[in-house]
Subunit: 308 residues, 2 copies
């Protein structure tokens, strides 16, 4: 039985206020608070690389979970903003943390669907290869690729990293996953010449159409009733897309938190940031997770609390 | 039972001769033929992107294996030279090939160990998620990051791509894999500011030490006798490192081909290029594969012919 034992989160303390950009972009408070749902975005230190953020998330995990660093046998980083394209950032992190030489390391290139894919991947890779102590990192600092004059992106994306401990003594295990791709839309969310471009309308339409259908498929494949799920931890794209999705699925908003207000859309870190809290809430026994975005790509999963 | 059914290979027709560089680098034929073992390097077309090469390998696979494109439910690309950092190149390929919307797509960032890792990953991911028709691509065109005045790299690396069909009717299935990382050495093979740097001596020492030990571990974990293995398909780093490894392992050179002479070190494609031929040779029933390089990273596996 392999699954999530604990999650560590790093969100940089530096925040840029969207209220300070009202004049620049001709914004009102309603747009900031109800459409974006993001009042501040978190920004990493200028010299911090992706591996530095990853290590801070790892340190946060170390403070809350008692594990032996020397026993880590799998380290996966989900990122599309690596320190270098070559080598993979997980190797750099492996070196900085002085991990064991028998630790398997690789990076996965995925955006907002990356945590769900990554969780499925680390679970299946560890199961197949008889590994016992895995770390799944998400770290995608978009601040390095944002055009501060682009209203579509600069008000929305924040920096963060997370570290998830995956082992054989988990608090949550997963059911069946669903995955999908709409590659024809790949240029709607793309980084060219180090600048992020997003066609917000197109991404909204994609998510509003694809995510509800995928959640229904997930319920069906897992033989679950959506009304009996305790929590829905969806990618925090924006408040408007989040509300649209839960409204289409007729989900009680109390069960589907939107909590990116003070740090922004943190790409692959958005789901584990919220999951960290749900791990502690023992009244929550079933959690649906769903990520969607860059690719265009989506992935959903369901987590069940174990008796541990 | 999941494993390799067929492999398609794309090596660009354009070749640059190392003999033409004898004056520039003060080389002799012995160095070219016996140390490097590479007389020509393959070079992609200037406007070809990684996804274009990947699609040519996919087309080569389509010509030799009868599969239904519409049924592909998993597409993984191993590369450290993606079309863009964001989105992943597998999404772009998905769009260009007009694949099914229920096809899972992601990229893996790994270098010369990438095929072995990628094979293990696609097998375990497909098994866990009940997928049936997977494509594993390797495509890492180093020509775009080579300094043509750098003797250590420009004489060695060639461009290629491969496509491996992984399904439930395989010709080869795998045993246990071994994986390892030496992240402290990450800067010995790195791409900074779009230029590849390699400390050749350091990489040689790493491979000469690590690979023989890993092959012994692989044999032990699979309960196999190295003398009874039919073929050893090792990463084609250079002829000298290849000979050093097989000599240290006392492997009959007839069983361990070095065949990169006319196209170069093709990074993650080096192993599947050779494997393609071994699939057809029905006298070959057991194959050991091993990749090593960027990271520093290594991975080994063993393939067994099925009765299909």
């Amino acid at each position: 039985m392999i699954g999530i034992e604990a999650i560590g989160v790093y969100i940089p303390e530096t925040r840029v206020s969207n209220y300070s950009k009202k004049a620049q972009f001709n914004l009102d408070d309603y747009f900031i608070e109800e459409k974006l749902g993001v009042t501040h975005v978190a920004v990493k230190g200028a010299s911090d690389q992706t591996s530095d953020m990853a290590i801070r998330a790892f340190e946060a995990l170390s403070r809350k979970s008692d594990f032996d660093k020397a026993k880590i046998d799998c380290l996966i980083i989900v990122t599309q903003n690596p320190d270098y394209n070559l080598p993979h950032t997980s190797a750099i992190m492996h070196g900085k943390l002085d991990l064991s030489s028998n630790c398997a390391c690789f990076d996965i290139s995925l955006g907002c669907s990356g945590f769900v894919y990554g969780l499925s991947l680390i679970e299946s890779f560890m199961q197949r290869n008889d590994l016992h102590h895995g770390i799944l990192i998400t770290a995608d600092p978009y601040s390095t690729i944002l055009d501060q004059n682009d209203k579509n992106t600069s008000l929305l994306f924040g920096d963060a990293a997370t570290a998830t401990l995956v082992n054989r003594n988990p608090r949550f295990t997963s059911g069946k996953y669903t995955f999908g791709t709409s590659g024809k839309g790949y240029s709607e969310l793309i980084c060219k010449d180090n600048i992020l471009f997003m066609n917000g309308r197109s991404i909204f339409d994609f998510a509003a159409r694809q995510v509800p259908a995928d959640i229904k498929l997930l319920m069906e494949q897992n033989g679950q009733n959506i009304e009996l799920i305790d929590k829905f931890v969806f990618h925090q794209g924006s408040k408007y897309i989040h509300q649209t999705i839960i409204s289409r699925l007729k989900i009680d908003p109390q069960k589907a938190p939107f909590a990116a207000r003070e740090y922004g859309n943190t790409v692959s870190s958005s789901i584990p940031i919220l999951l960290e809290k749900e791990l502690e809430d023992t009244s929550v026994n079933t959690i649906v997770i769903c990520g969607f975005g860059v690719g265009l790509s989506w992935a959903s999963g369901i987590l069940f609390r174990t008796s541990n």
